[in-house]
C-alpha cells in the first residue's frame, strides 16, 4: 500500500480520469469516484493497475451529502488516511441566461457547488486531526471571466473560488492547503460538441494555438497535491494556454 491517499470526484472520464491516473503514477492510492457509469470507472482502475498504480472505485453522487460522506468514509476505512481531495465532479448545460429555468439554475448550482462543500466538510474532519491535507478544486476560466451561455455554470464555478479562499484561511494553520485550478478550453466531450466555426473562434483567443489536454490539467493538480506545494494556499492557477494574456 502507498503512503498517501487521494480522492478524485467524478473521475470515470475526462479531466478527472487524467488526474486520477497522474496521482496514481505519483504514488498515491487513488479513490476513483463515479456517479453513473461504473464500467468506465472500472476501466480507469484497470488502466491504473496496468501501470502499476493502486486504487479503488467508489460509486457516489457527491452532490448528495450522505453519498459524499460515504465516499470519504470508504477511503478512510480502506487506506486509513486521506491526504488529498480533488473536487472535480461537475456538470454543464449551456443556455442563454434568459432561457435558464429555475430548475436548471438550481441543478447547476447544486451539482457544481454543493458537491465541493459536502466532500470538503467530510474530509476536513479527518485532515484536521492529521494536521495535513491538500484540497484542490477544479473551477474554470469561466468562473473568473464569465461566458455567454454559461451564467449558471459560471456562477457555480465562481462560487468555488470564494469557497476555497475561505477554506485556505480557516485551515491554513493546520497544515491544510486549499487551491483552485481553472482550466480554459480542454479537449473533452464538452469541447468536442463545438462547431468548426466555434472552435476556430476559440483558438484565436488562445496564445498556445491549441486546446489544452486533460493531462495539462492533471500535471498542475498533481503538483498542488504534493507535499512540496505546502506553501501555496488560497490560489487560483489558470491552465488556459495564455488566454488571459490576449
Amino acid at each position: 500500500m502507498n503512503e498517501q491517499t487521494a480522492i478524485v470526484t467524478g473521475s470515470s472520464r475526462g479531466i478527472g480520469k487524467a488526474i486520477a491516473l497522474q496521482l496514481a503514477r505519483d504514488g498515491f492510492n487513488v479513490v476513483i469516484n463515479y456517479r453513473q457509469n461504473r464500467e468506465q470507472a472500472d476501466h480507469v482502475l484497470e488502466e491504473m493497475q496496468a501501470a502499476g498504480g493502486q486504487g479503488i472505485v467508489v460509486g457516489a453522487d457527491v452532490s448528495n451529502s450522505e453519498d459524499a460522506q460515504h465516499l470519504i468514509d470508504t477511503a478512510v476505512q480502506t487506506y486509513g488516511r486521506v491526504d488529498v481531495l480533488v473536487n472535480n465532479a461537475g456538470i454543464n448545460k449551456d443556455q442563454l441566461m434568459l432561457r435558464i429555468s429555475d430548475e436548471e439554475w438550481h441543478q447547476l448550482i447544486h451539482t457544481n457547488l454543493d458537491s465541493a462543500f459536502y466532500c470538503s466538510r467530510a474530509v476536513l474532519r479527518h485532515m484536521m486531526k492529521k494536521r495535513y491535507g491538500r484540497i484542490i478544486t477544479i473551477s474554470s476560466v469561466v468562473g473568473i471571466n464569465g461566458n455567454a451561455g454559461q451564467a449558471h455554470y459560471a456562477a457555480a464555478k465562481s462560487g468555488l473560488l470564494g469557497f476555497t479562499f475561505s477554506l485556505a484561511q480557516e485551515y491554513g494553520n493546520r497544515g491544510i492547503t486549499a487551491n483552485v485550478v481553472a482550466p480554459g478550453f480542454i479537449q473533452s466531450d464538452m469541447t468536442a460538441a463545438l462547431s468548426p466555426e466555434q472552435s476556430a473562434k476559440i483558438l484565436k483567443s488562445i496564445a498556445a494555438d491549441r486546446l489544452g489536454t486533460p493531462e495539462d490539467v492533471a500535471a498542475t493538480v498533481a503538483f498542488l497535491a504534493s507535499p512540496q506545494a505546502g506553501y501555496i494556499n488560497g490560489q487560483v492557477i489558470r491552465i488556459d494556454g495564455g488566454m488571459s494574456s490576449i
Binding site: 474532519r125 484536521m128 480557516e170
Partner: protein
C-alpha cells in the same frame, strides 16, 4: 473515565499541553490558548466519543472546560 477526564484527554491530544495545566476552571482562549478551530475540533471529538450532537447554539457559551463538562454530563444524564 469521567467526562472531565475525557475532555482533558482530548484537549491534550489537540493542544499538546501537560495534564496538570488543564482544570475545570481553565478558559479555552486565555488559559489554554485554544482558538475557535481548536474548540470545534474538541467538540467534534466529543460528539464522536459519546455519539451525541452538540447544537451550534449550545457551543456559543462554552468558554471554560467546566461549561463543556457540565453540558455533556447533563446531556448524558450523569453527574459532572
Amino acid at each position: 473515565m469521567s467526562v472531565f477526564e475525557d475532555v482533558r484527554k482530548i484537549i491534550i491530544e489537540i493542544k499538546d499541553l501537560p495534564e496538570e495545566s488543564i482544570t475545570l476552571e481553565s478558559r479555552f482562549e486565555e488559559d489554554l490558548e485554544a482558538d475557535s478551530l481548536d474548540v470545534v475540533e474538541m467538540l467534534m471529538s466529543l460528539e464522536e466519543l459519546y455519539d451525541i450532537q452538540i447544537p451550534e447554539e449550545a457551543t456559543e457559551g462554552m468558554k471554560t472546560v467546566r461549561e463543556v463538562v457540565e453540558y455533556i454530563s447533563a446531556l448524558l444524564g450523569q453527574d459532572a
